[in-house]
């Protein structure tokens, strides 16, 4: 079974209807805003590095305007927000990102003699793969557990990506349209507002 695909526009259309509560709409609509973001926490170069890394972890070649994940991380770090816990083996989040992103650049330098942002996509993928495998070279990894950093990075970006209405559209999630309640909840039972998979 190939991965299902869903029609475009389902979530965006639902957000305009009274199937979605006002509170839910107020949470989701601002995430569709694509206006330019100025980093608050990272300096420009580090921010661009994070964007480049996020673009390899969440490649979106089909989107004219990819869902931006770096602002979510930058805003959180600027506010000093936490999700309630941290691996004791890890430094505080701001320091972990500083060391981890720096480590990714170091690995790019060692492997390809250029910073990450100047590499081709296949080369960037090799660097990310080396971090994912825990084999990336770089001095910073002496100070940061590489496996935990990659796990934290992946999880935070995953949460940022799948919180976005367009990503929810991509996977056929319409749980936000809950005002009438769900009556058809058994396997293969759909409500009229649930998008059907696009048959290839």
């Amino acid at each position: 079974m190939a991965s299902p695909h869903y029609p475009d526009g389902t979530v965006r259309a639902l957000l305009q209807t009274d199937l979605v509560t006002e509170a839910t709409r107020a949470a989701l609509l601002p995430r569709l805003d694509t206006s330019e973001y100025t980093p608050q926490f990272f300096d420009e170069a580090t921010y661009e590095l994070l964007r480049a890394v996020a673009a390899r972890i969440y490649p979106q070649p089909e989107r004219p305007e990819p869902i931006e994940l770096a602002p979510v991380v930058d805003k959180r770090l600027a506010q000093g927000d936490s999700d309630g816990w941290r691996y004791d083996a890890m430094p505080p989040d701001r320091e972990a990102y500083r060391l981890g992103l720096g480590g990714i650049n170091q690995a790019a330098q060692v492997l390809f003699q250029r910073p990450f942002g100047h590499l081709s996509e296949p080369q960037q993928d090799q660097v990310v793969a080396a971090v994912a495998n825990g084999t990336a070279p770089g001095e910073n990894w002496q100070h940061l557990p590489i496996d935990r950093f990659f796990e934290e990075l992946l999880a935070e970006l995953a949460e940022a990506y799948y919180s976005h209405p367009l990503a929810q559209e991509e996977i056929g999630y319409v749980g936000m349209a809950d005002v009438p309640g769900w009556h058809r909840i058994e396997p293969n039972q759909l409500e009229a507002r649930e998008p059907e998979e696009v048959k290839p």
Partner: protein, 563 residues
Amino acid sequence: MPDEEVLEEGVLNPAKPEIQDPLLKSILAENGGLLAQAPVEQEQPAPLPDPVDEVDCVVIGTGAGGAPLLARLAMAGLKVVALEAGPRRDPTRDYATDEKAQHFLFWNDERLSAGQNPVAFGNNNSGTGVGGSTLHYTAYTPRAHRDDLRLFTDFGKGVDWPFGVEELEPYYEELEHFLGVSGPTPYPWDPPRRTGYPLAPLPLNGAALLMQKACAGLGIQTSPAANAALSARYYQEGVGWREACTNRGFCQAGCNRGAKASMDVTFLPLAEAHGAEIRADAFVTEIERDAKGRVTAVVYTQYGEQKRQRCRHLFLCAGAVETPRLLLLNELALTSGQVGKNFMAHPGMQVWGTFEEDIRPYKGIPGGLISEDTHRPTDADFVGGYLLQSIGVMPVTFASQMARKRKLWGQPLRDYMRSYNHTAGINILGDCLPHENNFLELADEKDVRGLPKPRVHFTAQENEQRMNAHAEKLMRQIWEAAGARDIWAYERYAHTIGTARMGLSGDDAVVNPEGRAFDVPNLYICDNSVFPSALSVNPALTIMALSLRTADKFLAAQQRLDR
């Protein structure tokens, strides 16, 4: 991290920093972020009682441990004040059906997780706000079994509780009827109960039906689970009509309908109707004592101001992390040496699979189906047992834990997540033995208030590892029988339990069987921290039962003194 910058970062890494930057301030205000500490209109702080005012009881925490006893004490005519660290919200207005937007329900102050199996906190197990962790509990309400409370007697390992389950049973009955629990009658794994559940079970969703069919083929008995969400409209004493569940599936966060029996729609309105006062956004920092060691007052911060409330008795109900943290910070009730010790977390391994069927895991209560055939498995190589639950999941939670476990990235990650609607899970809730290597301590690193962060050490010991292995094998069998492919297991540990255990003697326990601290005569602890062992069932119903029992024992003792 030995360099200075890191150390400084550690000290300065505030959960809620003082924001100076006007731009950032406006962004935060727009997002309803940090600056939302100011009271919204329905929660203007009540006029402060005169600082010399003394109330009968202060209750710290308004979750499953604090709310039931708050109502009980208020109904007995006592003057009671509850201090809740988090805000008061209006579910119908403030609870979006969105995982990120409900972030405020969780205790997001950073905790440090150490050991071989560092426990995730926050949305995994810790709530904040009027209602505490019940605002985001999944409302599973199985009762503890008779033998859960006597592991040492039965196995020679773990510890026995200082009383039997018959002490809790009347409270289980009362709670099931007060909260309006939906569930099967008779309950298949405990048929001789005196009373059945007041409401019929909630409907089964995709994951539950797939699990039900596969288990039937494998000879595993299943049943719709008991859940404190209403399968029909229900009238509740002191509260009024509550509306039925609409299968919104958002139980791991906040119910915007009041169908889930969280404390904010059950015991807390009852308590307030009887004169209890609940102060939100009140973060307790100090517990004051007199020369004899009796608690005299608590000091808390509310809207940036420090306040004091004098009290005759203190009930500490802040959960198994903040309760021991407050005791350690205040050097209170420490003579047994048990505060912070024996931290436990339930093995909560999940097994996920991809199905041909279109499942849409966001519909229906997440855990519709249960089996307790694994309560004492005949082929077990471990102490205790576990239960099985079907599970649904929301996409952000699913993506996050999938990323942590499978480390997928790039196109394979997006491809896998496209199958979200074809995903179904099963998980366990297993007993956990207390162990000396699992404990909570105060770290050097400080939080935004300048208080030491808690550091929790947790390593799954041999018993938990064997239980996990047994459960993973069985859950994989079930999902294979159900026709799943791409099956994967996620090892996780749920709930916070232990750290201020209850026992018969102050030599090895912090509180006595009535919840009173051995070495502080007017301090009571009532939450999951007093559990001597973890139990093989979800803890909320038992925490509430303990809460009512603690209140009744306290009231009885007061009457004896009055005579």
